[in-house]
């Protein structure tokens, strides 16, 4: 997963480490500006955060430490920026990462002999964690909300919505929750049979109507079934749609009015990269989304969508689809993903 990004980040990490490691033992002298008393009526300007020459020497001689300056890492940061953009990490997210890394490194006191790599990894980790957000713990959400918890799945066509519904159903089933699936994709040929077969395989009840039926009615029935049978979670599948198709978006509005979902989940594929981020933002604007599921993450070498989506639309990433079987869905764990990207860190 995200192999290309991992390789690139490794290279950027080495570059940053060597830039900081190459900081000369004697700080470069800076031009001495004579200190003049402030003119009458003016206040003395605030001291800037950047350490001056005297301070640098003092720190080096007395504390045997070096201070990392902006100049030391400017080039390496520029390379990191290119690395992230080439990995399809959205521009605002790239900017946020660079700002965070710079903030964490510039002005840092480094003991002579202290590992530079550890310092760089820590800065990268914290920058990535900031943009990845906290993730979304579905189990905790279900445990802390009135049952049935109604979850509506939306997204564009062919990204693996129905399979994701089945995988999440299987995941929740294994966590001990009772689940019912509403076959709300009454539009695509074979979609009802597909979800019915999935449901049978994983031992979950599915509520279905005929092909072409009103999806709102199917999902209303599903919620009623869940209430009367004291089911914990309703997973509502819907037909894939683009946000530009007004008739289908109106249908989605009706579904939301009728079934009153607790969570609206946007499903897209990680391999779509920045397109997935843009589509998620459009969907969030038009119908709203509470969390994101990215499918086919195992085939995505760049990782741009996974890194960018939470920060860009401000909604958490909930699951990553990583394969064909029902167990191939993993709750999104930002710390785990960052550790994986900065392997061995």
């Amino acid at each position: 997963m995200f192999g290309g990004l991992k390789e690139r980040l490794q290279a950027a990490r080495n570059r940053l480490s060597s830039s900081i490691g190459a900081v000369v033992a004697t700080p470069v002298a800076e031009p001495v500006v004579p200190h003049l008393p402030p003119a009458a009526g003016t206040t003395e300007p605030e001291k800037t955060a950047a350490p001056g020459f005297v301070e640098k020497v003092k720190v080096l001689v007395l504390e045997r430490e070096l201070i990392v300056s902006d100049k030391n890492i400017a080039e390496a940061l520029s390379e990191l920026e290119m690395t992230l953009l080439e990995s399809d990490v959205a521009l605002p997210v790239t900017d946020a990462i660079i700002i965070s890394v710079r903030k964490n490194l510039v002005g840092r006191h480094r003991k002579i002999g202290e590992s530079v790599d550890a310092m760089v990894v820590s800065a990268l980790k914290s920058a990535l964690l900031e943009v990845l957000g906290k993730g979304f713990d579905l189990k905790e959400y279900i445990n802390t909300h009135p049952r049935p918890v109604k979850i509506l799945f939306t997204g564009v066509n062919g990204t693996g919505k129905t399979t994701s519904v089945a995988k999440i159903g299987s995941y929740l089933h294994k966590q001990g929750f009772s689940v019912v699936i509403g076959a709300g994709d009454t539009y695509r040929a074979g979609a009802i049979e597909q979800i019915a077969v999935h449901a049978e395989r994983i031992g979950i009840k599915v509520i279905q109507h005929q092909e072409g039926a009103d999806p709102s009615a199917v999902l209303f029935d599903t919620v009623q079934y869940a209430i009367s049978h004291k089911i914990d979670v309703v997973l509502a599948d819907t037909a894939g749609r683009f946000h530009t198709k007004s008739n289908l978006m109106n249908q989605l509005d009706k579904i939301k009015r009728v079934m009153k979902p607790d969570l609206v989940i946007y499903v897209d594929e990680a391999v779509a990269g920045n397109d997935a981020v843009i589509r998620a933002a459009e969907f969030d604007r038009t119908v709203g989304a509470d969390a994101i599921v990215l499918t086919k993450a195992d085939m995505d070498s760049r990782g741009g969508a996974a890194i960018s989506i939470a920060h860009t639309i401000g909604k958490p990433l909930m699951f990553l689809g990583v394969g064909q079987s029902y167990d191939d869905i993993i709750p999104f764990d930002p710390a785990g993903v960052v550790d994986e990207l900065l392997d061995g860190a």
Binding site: E86, L91, T163
Partner: protein, 150 residues
Amino acid sequence: MATNTQQAEQRELMMLQQYLKDYGQQAEIFVEQLNLLENARMEAMAAIEALEAMVVAEDNTVLLQIGGGASVRAKVLEPEKVLVAIGAEVVIERTNNEAVEFLKGRIMEMEASQKKVSETLDKLRAQMNEINKRLEFGYQQSMAGQQAEE
């Protein structure tokens, strides 16, 4: 009237057919993805060829395809400066050599992705073959059962 066993067999056969259909649809998506990757790879290779030819072309003149099989001779003003979409909808200016290196890197990435998608597709096809065998066996058993009853 069909017995319970026959009904169960029929249900299993129908389920296997549905699995097969489901896997078939997934395989179609992966084939489509492979085609997209291949098209993008070919496009990148053509771009490398054009970039390399541009700098050695006499008078910086190249043939520019304008669609429908028609081409015009066009003069490239700055063959050493190339605008490259590096990702995340960001376009930056690079030298001709840097652009070629970038595209070569992208081609390697696409080939790695193609390999991964092909492996998944192979796995899917193996599963489909397995289901096909089970279906065939099921049909034969069902036919044999009907003949025995007659």
